[in-house]
């Protein structure tokens, strides 16, 4: 191996070496960390929400007429929605999963009589739905029972009704009752008025809270009630359709609700896919921006190496010719430049590993990102090494074509 002579030759051109190594180092650090961030975002976006997302849409009604009958309107609207061909089920709901807007409540397994210091409150999102809620969401009940029509009560501004039964997600059930089997156990939520409690009747495999960035995103609790003007005379409906029929049903639903009652405004017609797109917009933007950065960076670094090595080749034409005249094969010449590149990029990688972990530590400190998994750095190193070899291949081949006769000429 001509490792020593190559190194010696490189040492005579320290600046060039340093410049390429520095580029490689920064490239490695950025690429590793960006890929890491991208994969995390993809994982976040792909978490299952627990709903039959593509078949769902939401629509709201807001009464403004002074004599607006909200209870009657709720009953009429739900009947009308469920009767539309292509609809599987419909429910009222106070806020929609993935929408980033909703109701959260601290609930406890201990009654209010226990001093506040000892009561441990578990935060959860609250979905107020009727007995069609579970079926409409398309959530999967793993144990216990669904709500029945008898469970459903009205909650208004002054009377919070009787939310005696609730359904919780598996994650929330495990959090409340770590020993298992939460069915039949109480939760103290104050939802039915100060100090009131409810019984867990069912457990859902999974359902997300409305806030996609929340660290307790699978804390959700279904409460069987109709909001009868608790805050205003509005009602939000969630409708589940048969596969592929959502868009036609959406149009139909809007016109049908608009025709039923003129003392209100129908608005906010949105598919859950649309809601999801908006909630994850920032993550999507970040993914796209970082991908652009990665590819531009690799291109710039790669082309930079091509340019530099081309010049080195031009400057060494005479030496190459001499080597060829002395018996070096074309292959040897090419190998020389390839090995030279491995050394330069290798130095860059060594420096880059420091930068990669430094950058990762900085991200961990400021952005609460986890530690980089061990395989990112070696994979990243391999990538830039291959990039270097790819970049140098062209100029090295050109170098290998230098005729031995060059050695005999004076420039």
């Amino acid at each position: 191996m001509e490792f020593r002579p190559i190194l010696n030759a490189l040492m005579r051109n320290k600046t060039g070496l340093l410049l390429i190594a520095l580029q490689v180092a920064i490239t490695l650090a950025i690429v590793c960390n960006s890929v890491f961030i991208i994969l995390q975002r993809i994982e976040k976006v792909n978490r299952p929400s627990g709903m039959d997302e593509t078949a769902l849409f939401t629509i709201t009604s807001l009464g403004f007429a002074p004599d607006f009958d909200l209870r009657g309107s709720l009953r009429q609207d739900l009947e009308a929605l469920r009767a539309i061909p292509g609809v599987i089920d419909a429910t009222t709901i106070n806020s929609v999963p993935l929408s980033n807007g909703g109701w959260s409540e601290g609930i406890s397994t201990l009654p209010e009589s226990v001093p506040e210091e000892q009561r441990k409150n578990t935060p959860t999102s609250i979905y107020i739905v009727d007995d069609h809620g579970v079926n409409t969401l398309g959530a999967h009940l793993v144990s216990g029972r669904n709500f029945t029509a008898d469970d459903v009560s009205y909650r208004s501004r002054d009377d919070k009704g009787t939310p005696n039964s609730v359904i919780v997600t598996q994650v929330l059930a495990d959090q409340l009752y770590p020993d298992g089997n939460a069915i039949g156990k109480p939760v103290y939520s104050g939802l039915g008025g100060k100090g009131s409690s409810s019984t867990i009747v069912g457990i859902l495999e999974r359902l997300q809270a409305p806030w996609v960035g929340w660290d307790k995103v699978e804390h959700a609790m279904l409460v069987p009630q109709y909001q009868d003007g608790e805050f205003d005379s509005s009602a939000r409906y969630l409708v589940r359709t048969q596969p592929g029929r959502r868009d036609e049903v959406m149009k139909e639903a809007e016109s049908k609700l608009g025709a039923i009652n003129t003392g209100r405004i129908v608005r906010g017609l949105r598919s859950i896919e649309e809601v999801r797109g908006e909630s994850y917009r920032q993550d999507r933007a970040m993914t796209i921006v970082l991908t652009t950065v990665i590819f531009s960076l690799l291109a710039v670094t790669g082309l930079g190496i091509v340019g530099m090595v081309s010049f080195w080749v031009t400057r060494r034409v005479k030496q190459i010719g001499t080597r060829r005249a002395l018996g070096a094969r074309r292959f040897d010449i090419r190998r020389y430049f390839m090995i030279e590149n491995v050394i330069v990029v290798g130095i860059g990688i060594a420096l880059g590993l420091l930068l990669t972990y430094g950058f990762n530590l900085w991200l961990m400190k400021h952005y609460e990102l986890p530690r980089l998994a061990w395989y990112y750095a070696p994979l990243g190193a391999l990538t830039v090494l291959l990039l270097g070899q790819l970049a140098v291949f062209g100029p090295a081949t050109r170098a290998s074509r230098v005729s031995p006769a060059v050695a005999t000429r004076t420039v």
């Binding site: 506040e116 405004i265 608005r267 082309l303 530099m308 010049f311």
Partner: protein, 439 residues
């Protein structure tokens, strides 16, 4: 002389087109990436109230749970919203020049013209102080008085768009508009007003547009309305709307206007005394921790500029650094390749400064070309951002302005000159004698 250097530089750059293109493209990509991210940062980080940053103050009181801070990640920060009772007390005490207490919700509008169907508008239920504090520009009329606040007068300020829709853009001051089933008198019509970010209410979208209709805070309370933005409680409250009003639930944005920093400190003293009084009634279990943030402090505390955007800016500049290092390397290789030529020029009498000037001209030329192409890339980058953020005001604002154009060119030029310094210096070190000897 400069013209001569310019001509030499052009000849040199043309001689090796691929290398020149590579350098120009690298600088252009670097500029494009950095300027795109800078534009977004600049826009998100701007403060539309900067001209009275010291006078406009966000009032925050810490009435939260004795066991848990409002924000576990930032335990020293008090809640960002206020209870009804505190907002009401502070407005009535009137210890500042103006007080603005408000909350957003929607109101149905029933247009006089039958052909327009009733529709919903975003409304802000606010005290009169909102208008002198945030100074939205009026096309017609103005705000209302604190007296009208107290009597829950049915008066409204509407935005230009609503005025166009309901009154065909005419001066509608004095005319009636039906909101929430009641007749309101229009007292003011706003010009187009889009503070970015929407400083007065940054929750649920700091980059959303302002509300379309403004009505008195006391009207909202009389109609038993609450906020359709955030409502947070840390314990159960008494039933009904009355219960909400006397509870420790927070849902109201509160701002005041003071004279200056000293006056703000006086106001903070007043707040601390107020909380001290309230503590006697058993409220405010936590240590006294109140704030009178200026607008810029508030925007920072609310972290209006997202972490992603900051990361993107850092990455873009790291990318730019790589592009510059690249350019240094390529220029160095190129200039060193010209050693014989430089040696010859020096031998026939060119001074070092002359050689220096000539090669720096060449670097600068690369920089300017890179800057111009970089502008194109920036334009493309912003176009892509507008697509990514379609539907928010980022979309509307991701535009290149002349300041950014100038800045891009300047940065490109300066950066390329800096990148050219070392290679040029090396070029000047060429010994004429050695070069001529090897020829």
């Amino acid at each position: 002389m400069f013209a001569y250097y310019l001509r030499l530089a052009m000849i040199s750059l043309k001689r090796n087109r691929i290398l020149t293109a590579l350098m120009v493209a690298a600088i252009a990509l670097g500029i494009g990436m950095s300027m795109t991210s800078m534009t977004v940062l600049h826009m998100m980080g701007s403060n539309p109230m900067s001209y009275k940053d010291e006078q406009v103050r966000r009032v925050q009181l810490d009435n939260w749970d004795v066991n848990e801070p409002w924000d576990e990640d930032y335990p020293t920060e008090p809640p960002d919203l206020m209870t009804y009772q505190d907002a009401n007390n502070l407005v009535n005490a009137h210890k500042a020049e103006h007080e603005a207490a408000f909350f957003p919700n929607v109101l149905p509008v029933e247009p006089e013209k039958r052909e327009i169907k009733p529709y919903m508008v975003e409304a802000l239920f606010t005290t009169a102080g909102f208008f002198p504090i945030f100074e939205p520009p009026f096309r017609y009329g103005g705000g209302w008085s604190p007296a009208e606040d107290r009597s829950a007068a049915r008066v409204a300020v509407i935005d230009a768009e609503t005025n166009d829709k309901l009154f065909g853009g005419e001066n509608s001051v004095g005319r009636k508009v039906r909101l929430g089933g009641e007749d309101f008198t229009v007292v003011g019509v706003l010009e187009k007003w889009r503070p970015t970010p929407r400083v007065y209410h940054v929750a649920n979208g700091a980059f959303n547009d302002p509300q379309s209709v403004f009505v008195p805070f006391s009207f909202g309370i009389e109609k038993k309305m609450n906020s359709n933005s955030n409502n947070s409680c840390y314990k159960d409250s008494e039933p009904g709307y009355e219960g909400l009003l006397v509870s420790d639930c927070i849902w109201i944005d509160m701002w005041v206007q003071v004279k200056d920093e000293a006056d703000a400190q006086r106001y903070l003293g007043f707040l601390n005394d107020y909380v001290g009084e309230q503590k006697k009634t058993g409220r405010f279990p936590r240590p006294v921790n109140n704030r009178v943030y200026s607008v810029s402090q508030f925007l920072q505390a609310q972290r209006v500029v997202g972490r992603d955007v900051r990361t993107q800016v850092w990455l873009a500049f790291a990318f730019f650094a790589v592009c510059l290092i690249n350019t240094v390397g390529l220029l160095l290789a190129k200039f060193m390749g010209k050693a014989p030529e430089i040696g010859l020029r020096r031998a026939v009498g060119a001074s070092k400064p002359a050689v220096f000037a000539q090669y720096l001209t060449e670097s600068g030329l690369v920089g300017i070309a890179g800057g111009l192409l970089g502008l194109v890339f920036t334009g493309l980058g912003l176009l892509a951002l507008r697509k990514l953020y379609a539907g928010t005001s980022i979309e509307r604002l991701a535009e290149l302005d002349w300041v950014m154009v100038g800045l891009s060119l300047l940065i490109a030029l300066v950066a390329s000159l800096i990148a050219g310094l070392y290679p040029t210096w090396r070029a000047c070190q060429v010994q004429p004698a050695t070069q001529l000897k090897t020829q």
